[in-house]
């Protein structure tokens, strides 16, 4: 087992732990920390298997953007309560069954595929840029449209709430 394998295993373990924390914790702060851990370990996996650019984007967009947003939203929603806010779940066997079925199904289907050897090279930022402005330009452009959509959508949603 090489060093990179061990790092990868650690990152994956951190990812699962972060996910579990996000799903199960009853404490707001822990939720944010767990989600952050999850997102960072995803970035770490990206860094190890695919590309540094992707990892940086993940850190910037998620940890820098989404996580702050989540925190912000939590503060707005819970600003008027003094005591530590609790989060609870409606644990039920049906949801657990669905989740277990999804997990089992995915592992059963995908594990055989993972054994095949793939390319071990990682993508350079230049290559990604060349792809996005080359063969992937349509998707890239449409992602631009989507960002405009998201901007307008936020405006509409927030104002819609105020209009009342």
């Amino acid at each position: 087992m090489s060093a990179s394998d061990i790092t990868l295993a650690a990152a994956v373990a951190a990812m699962i732990a972060g996910a579990a924390g996000t799903a199960l914790t009853r404490d707001v702060t822990r939720l944010v920390v767990s989600l952050g851990a999850f997102l960072l370990s995803v970035a770490a996996i990206f860094l190890i298997v695919a590309s540094s650019l992707l990892a940086i984007a993940q850190v910037f967009v998620y940890v820098g953007g989404v996580l702050v947003l989540v925190l912000f939203a939590l503060m707005v929603v819970h600003r008027d309560t003094d005591e530590r806010v609790g989060l609870d779940s409606l644990h039920d066997i049906g949801a657990a069954a669905v989740a277990v079925a999804v997990f089992a199904g995915l592992v059963a289907l995908l594990l055989p595929l993972a054994g095949t050897t793939g390319s071990q090279t990682r993508a350079l930022p230049n290559d990604i840029g060349a792809f996005l402005l080359g063969d992937g330009v349509v998707a890239f452009e449409i992602a631009g449209v989507l960002l405009l959509v998201a901007l307008l959508a936020v405006l509409v949603v927030v104002k819609g709430g105020e209009d009342r």
């Binding site: 449409i142 959508a153 509409v156 949603v157």
Partner: protein, 482 residues
Amino acid sequence: MNAMVPAVVLTAAACAMTGVVAGLIADMFGRRTMALLLVASGLASASAAGIWRLWSGPSVPEVGVFVAGGGHTSLASLMYALAAASVVAGVGTLRARERGVAMAALVALGAVLSHALLATTDVMVLFIALSGLAVIGYALTAGRGTERSIAAAVRYLVQGVIASGLTVYGLAIVFGLSGGAPDLLAARETLAQAPTAPALAGMALVLAALAFKLGAFPFHSWVPDVYGEADRASVAFLGSVPKVAVVVALLVLLRGTAFASGGFAVASQVVIVLALGSLVFGSFGMLRERSVARLLGYSAIAQVGYALLGVGSGDAGIVATTIFVVTYAVAVAAAFVGLEAIGAQDPRWDGSLAGLAGLGRRAPVTAAAMTAVIMSLTGMPLFAGFWGKLHVILALVGAGRTGVAVVAVLAAVVSFGGYGAVVRAMYFEDAAHEDLAVRSSRTMSGSGYAVVVLVALAVALVALGVVPLVSGVARVYAVFSL
């Protein structure tokens, strides 16, 4: 590079985007009506661009990221036209909202995304367009700003994020199995040789994502919700344009790409199962509904069932599905434009069936046009919807699925109860309160936009229903065949 994106796609999208930008600028100067009309005219010129392309000669299908040309061009034109119709019809409502222009802009961008979705074989484009349309759906629902509409948006959002997660996973599988090639057309060989079970699972997840977007059973829960609570003019867009795009995308994916090869024959059976569930659930759901918009939501579930039946019935189903979805899209857009018109003429209308009572006398033009629209949705001969249903049923029979066709016919019979209730309320029931003077004085300015659009769409439905009797279906609908 440009060769892969046919010029017509760019032209149309550029027209629509220009309209959006112009509209947003006009909004900054406080010219809201003008801004809305600018957005609409951008969409109209996008539609015209497609028509002009058709006019200027026989189109050769070009295959690339977009499978454009022929039927796709005319379908795109139709989608832009319907989006324009929804914006124009909503002028009265939208200009009263502070972010009305942004909502109209979302409709226009939704048309662009639908256009992208319409003919793509690229999983990246597929994913981004689907997500964008979902975001537009949430925003337009919440944008009405009532407590109920926000609650509906929240419910829709929670379902949507699950669907979104499943979509990415499905695409991950498909993309991985096709050796990291985003274009499913190019990946035909690779995907066909990939292990069957994971490939099928990936396809099933993509199928489920599209079915969710269509509101097919059992992914239907958001449909009556959103149809009932969002602005009526917004639903005129949400219920029609993305539906055309997704149904055609489904056709392209299942019949034109890697999924069309041998191992994927099960897809049509799965689609038929979903279709039957939708038909039964939607048709019966209509019977108990007392809100017209929600009733049309259940009707949408049932109608998606017919579209999926067409998708599931082999090669003959391609033309049938296209014809069906075109006629349905026009009819459902017209129906919600009609509700917008009724609401604008009588702001006190609570959206219930009972509130329609006596409409035949109060607003004869609106009621007559609405009746034509409902008849088309029902599938009565002489109206466009008839041809759609007829072709789907013939395609089913042609594919040897006579039993399914019988169920489809029976479901149609059940749905008569629901559609009949609307017509019945308008003509055969007396209004509880008849104070016409008050009513007319309270009529919102701007109801004229909706009425004009409604009449235009209703005339189109009748024309599409009658003309084929004279000219033969082939000539009229050939424009829309893929």
